[in-house]
């Protein structure tokens, strides 16, 4: 059920401003790919084009191709809503729905898409919470508000909510940047487990995290100030961190950057 992502010559725009230029890369199914790079270089922007969330922003548009197995996500016949059901996303700040209980948060994706079968919803809630390593912590208070959990628990709740709709790919936009080290470890462990079922792409500012969780790493950087961001180098995580091809990559990961 996990799928391969193929990005070809992707240019990304905000209105007339070209934010990212010429990205081409492949993400293998059942693997973790980390996007690293300085702030503002377009990592998150690229991530958001993989489930067509980029165009939610007024003026956002792309040129080029994003293939999910053999389907072009940007083909005119593609429905962005359907794409987002296939490619799930977890955000930087935990964002459970404040009006909903823990259970309703997890069931939200299914319920809002018209599934009412109570038994199926309950099963999915348990399965997803177990999948997100949160079940044992919340199983006695499923009807309490999701916003009452700790930050790390909220983020795992958001992961449970994302996998409840059974996506093929899971995108994570700096999922640990608002969390403490213990919660971060819990999420990283979870990513390691989830990769047996999902294709995962994660944006992170933490290079140790990229080294710990990912199989493949992509380094993004700006060409120059005011210029669009671009993909500098992509390769196996081991290679990027030990023997990168580009000097810029080496400078960045060794902390000699800018």
């Amino acid at each position: 059920m996990a799928k391969r992502i193929d990005v070809k010559d992707l240019d990304i725009y905000y209105g007339d401003f070209k934010a990212v230029e010429g990205v081409s890369m492949t993400v293998e199914p059942r693997s973790v790919t980390a996007f690293i790079g300085p702030s503002g270089c377009g990592k998150s922007t690229v991530l958001r084009t993989l489930n067509r969330m980029h165009e939610v922003i007024p003026g956002g548009r792309v040129d080029g191709k994003v293939m999910l197995d053999d389907q072009d996500l940007y083909a005119p016949s593609m429905d962005p809503v359907a794409v987002r059901r296939t490619v799930g996303m977890v955000f930087q700040r935990p964002n459970p729905f404040p009006t909903m209980s823990i259970k309703d948060n997890v069931a939200a994706g299914l319920r809002l898409n018209g599934i009412k079968d109570k038994k199926r919803l309950d099963e999915t809630v348990e399965k997803s919470l177990r999948g997100a390593n949160l079940w044992s912590e919340v199983k006695d208070r499923l009807d309490k508000p999701g916003a009452g959990l700790s930050g790390g628990q909220q983020q795992r709740l958001c992961i449970a909510r994302a996998i409840a709709v059974n996506p093929q790919v899971l995108l994570m936009d700096e999922p640990c940047s608002a969390l403490d080290p213990i919660s971060t470890l819990a999420i990283e462990d979870l990513i390691n487990e989830l990769k047996s079922q999902y294709t995962i792409v994660i944006v992170t500012h933490n290079m140790q995290q990229a080294a710990r969780v990912s199989d493949q790493t992509a380094f993004f950087n700006l060409k120059a100030t005011g210029q669009p961001g671009r993909l500098v180098e992509v390769g196996s995580t081991q290679k990027i961190f030990s023997n990168p091809e580009q000097q810029a990559t080496e400078d960045y990961i060794s902390g000699r950057f800018g």
């Binding site: 939610v56 007024p58 964002n95 898409n113």
Partner: protein
């Protein structure tokens, strides 16, 4: 003030200078405190005055059961007795109909402006709402009069009053709903989109429930304001002393017109009724405000 600044800017080299500086600031702090408390007290004077005098002069009227159950039918200015039930139910009925018309229009306009509105149309709509906010109630009333009576040739009926009140209530609802919708974090909308939930469903199932109590508070406060409007009532809905339920035929008494009716009388029973009606109106508006606050307590976005 300049003397204080002078003390302050004298460079502080030793201890006494430090003391001088802080005492100057303390003085200014005390002055600002005095001015603020003074303004607050001043603003309270008319409020307390109105409340106390209506309570003293009209309070006894509200204590009798007749006030809440009887109309003024057949009772002249000279006679004691009767009640304000006809005016209370008239005010509540018209407010209800006004809300039923203006809430959907106002809320949908706000949803359009916040969730969909881009480009010229949204700017024009927003500008129109601004203009509508500034329309005096007498102008709204005369506009409906010109439309309803002069152009269409209908009679002056309570429904025409509610049309004028709707005109006044729509902009307040649009503005307050807009503010509440803007308070809903964009992250929640994105979280919903990322689950493959369509935009309209995101609005109805995520955005509106999150902003719900705030929107209700805004509606109740808007309603409280509209209930006290008098100009449309005087122009479009003349007073009657008897009970009336039909919005499309005949006259209907309301609290503002009841106050206006006996306002010029010198006879004590009429004067008592004026104060009683005024107090009743204040009480209803106060209760609506309380209800608004109460609902606002449970607001998910604050």
């Amino acid at each position: 003030m300049s003397a204080l600044t002078h003390v302050g800017t004298e460079v502080s080299t030793d201890r006494s200078d430090l003391m001088a500086k802080s005492s100057g600031r303390a003085l200014r702090d005390r002055l600002a405190r005095f001015v603020m408390w003074g303004s607050f007290a001043l603003a309270c004077v008319p409020l307390v005055w109105i409340l106390v005098s209506t309570l003293l002069k009209g309070g006894h009227m509200l204590l009798s059961l007749d006030w809440w159950t009887l109309s003024q039918n057949g009772i002249t200015a000279r006679r004691v007795g009767g009640g304000a039930a006809h005016a209370i139910q008239g005010t509540l009925l018209q407010a209800l109909v006004t809300a039923a018309m203006s809430v959907p229009i106002g809320v949908f306009t706000a949803i359009y402006l916040v969730e969909y509105g881009r480009g010229r149309l949204a700017k024009v709509v927003s500008f129109m709402v601004d203009i509508l906010t500034g329309v005096p109630s007498i102008v709204a009333a005369l506009f409906i009069y010109a439309l309803w009576v002069t152009t269409f040739g209908f009679q002056r009926v309570p429904f025409a009053v509610t049309l004028a009140l709707t005109l006044l209530m729509i902009p307040t609802i649009v503005r307050s709903t807009e503010e509440m919708l803007k308070l809903v974090p964009n992250e929640l909308r994105e979280a919903s989109y990322a689950l493959g939930v369509p935009k309209w469903k995101t609005i109805t199932s995520i955005v509106l429930p999150t902003a719900f109590s705030g929107i209700v508070t805004g509606i109740l406060l808007g309603l409280a304001r509209v209930m006290g409007e008098t100009a449309p009532l005087i122009i479009l809905g003349p007073y009657t002393k008897s009970m009336a339920h039909n919005l499309f035929d005949g006259l209907m008494g309301t609290l503002p017109t009841m106050i206006n009716q006996d306002r010029t009388e010198a006879l004590q029973p009429a004067i008592d009724r004026v104060w009683g009606a005024a107090l009743t109106l204040i009480l209803i508006v106060f209760l609506l405000n309380l209800l608004g606050r109460f609902v606002g307590r449970f607001s998910k976005v604050s």
